[in-house]
Symmetry: C2
Subunit: 318 residues, 2 copies
């Protein structure tokens, strides 16, 4: 690194200046101090590790910073919470310079601004690879957090937006051919994932029983929701909202879409949430199946034929 | 890794079971949800990176887990806060197995229990080295957080406990000779640092003006406090509370002691805090100098002679 730790922190503080009045002690002290709201606190942390989650040559520091924020905000959204504050523990290798780090913080700042979230602190360390660990604290009305564990037999299963697009974007980018607009949209989706904060709150207002964000692939995340709820699921495969460039295996097992997967008590509730989502965000809500007794996932084809749905997706140790 | 991510999370949940009634959603969902207290929120994050902060062969997973918690709790303590909740984002290499990870979480649980703090969530990722990033949220009475920036000319400078012991412990351990009790105490201090939570609150009650924890060495941390406060400091070198095994350079520049370095408005305040600290924790409080106009650190010897005090200590990028 071409600067000292204290010089880098000083430069970072300039990028992050302008924190609101609820930030009592911002970046630069032993800890940040903020004034909490009246809700319950939502706490989550997620890492982007060089070599596992990204290759430095294939991403800009700015996109990477924005993504590190978005993946955490998505977890807060999946609890029906609103993000409030972020911390970033950064491990830097000798391969990156101060300009790269400033771009990274610029991307974090940009994403935070988009989610009305404030980056209030962090830590810098040295290591063999770049690792970006962000923690986001959020807020949810007391007792109104939505877990993975509340799905009940008979519930409808819904998914926002489209699936497989981020995986398709990564694939298309690697292939490196000439791109059309749908290709570019998919690549953009892979590079700059968006968390569904407002969307989650609309779904939550319509009687949602369980919710999770699709970070590791639909089948894996649905199996987690079902496992936590002690139920099984029947998935209408043809109803899954695959993106225009997504292959079938990317729709079922592609990670990083950060769409919401939720269960709702009735088709009326789904209809009502769908209308509101469409109006507020232009985001579709697909009814993709039903929660059933038992365990495991079953795929149902358009002719009503059933087969076990294998769980595929991103397992960090598989 | 010999298990899947979901199996590992399941095992970790067993180690972490028994969260209190203020934990609404514990480990295992998209995010944790907790009920906050009535104070301001204190937020901090710190990393232990293999190769930079530890060598796996020289530490037990249990000590490492406890240390990852302690270093963060120490930052909360330095704001005069009480730790409440911890998150851990863990990057695991192929070199560690599930038993090592369980020991690590055992150590985190042990340390959390000692600080009345609850580990409520985290994240698992793969990487070339083990990285342990802990985030702790704490609480402090509204408006009562103590920053580095409040020292005023004429304030006394105080230090709790003893300095240089952790650095001495690391040195003694590396040397590998036969150890006496003081050696073992120093090694213990290096392996299992203790955060001064209750001590910080006593110091804070006696009119503290600024506070920082000594994580990177007395001279570096004092220069940070002075820089944030816009003042200089005169340090009575002979008054620095060096540990029985600490070399002079370890007393001034050895990191990881996690003692408190604070400024107080008068010798009366120091006396009062000292009495209470001694009674409550058996921890000494040394008066090591005074805040002065200007900038930089000055060393004062027993004969009153002054010389500039060079800033030594742990700079992660120096």
């Amino acid at each position: 690194m071409d600067v000292t730790e204290d010089e880098l922190i000083h430069a970072i503080r300039r990028v992050l200046s302008g924190a609101g009045p609820d930030v009592i002690v911002p970046v630069g002290d032993d800890a940040a101090v903020v004034r909490p709201g009246s809700g319950d606190l939502v706490l989550t942390t997620d890492a982007l590790v060089e070599g596992s989650h990204f290759v430095r040559a294939n991403t800009t520091a700015r996109d990477l910073g924005a993504k590190a924020i978005a993946v955490n905000v998505s977890d807060v959204a999946a609890m029906a919470g609103s993000p409030r504050y972020a911390l970033c523990a950064l491990t830097l290798s000798g391969e990156v310079d101060a300009a790269w780090v400033m771009e990274l913080f610029g991307g974090m700042r940009e994403a935070c601004d988009g989610y009305a979230c404030t980056l209030v602190g962090g830590n810098l360390a040295r290591g063999p690879e770049v690792t970006i660990v962000v923690t986001v604290t959020g807020e949810v009305a007391p007792g109104r957090a939505v877990t993975r564990g509340g799905a009940r037999v008979g519930d409808r299963i819904v998914v926002t937006g489209e699936l497989g697009t981020a995986a398709a974007g990564h694939r298309i980018k690697r292939a490196g051919r000439r791109w059309d607009q749908a290709d570019l949209d998919a690549i953009r989706r892979a590079d700059r994932p968006q968390a569904r904060v407002g969307e989650a709150q609309i779904v939550a207002r319509h009687g949602v029983t369980a919710m999770i964000d699709v970070s590791d692939g639909l089948s894996l995340d649905l199996s987690r929701l079902c496992g936590a709820s002690g139920v099984g699921a029947k998935v209408r495969i043809h109803a899954l909202p695959g993106g225009p460039r997504a292959l079938p295996e990317e729709v079922l097992g592609g990670g990083e879409d950060y769409e919401l997967l939720a269960t709702m008590p009735s088709t009326d509730a789904v209809e009502a949430a769908r209308g509101e989502l469409e109006e507020a965000f232009g985001v579709p809500l697909a009814d993709v199946g039903a929660i059933v007794d038992g365990e495991g996932l079953t795929a149902v084809d358009p002719h009503g034929r059933e087969r076990p749905l294998p769980v595929t997706g991103w397992d960090h140790f598989g």
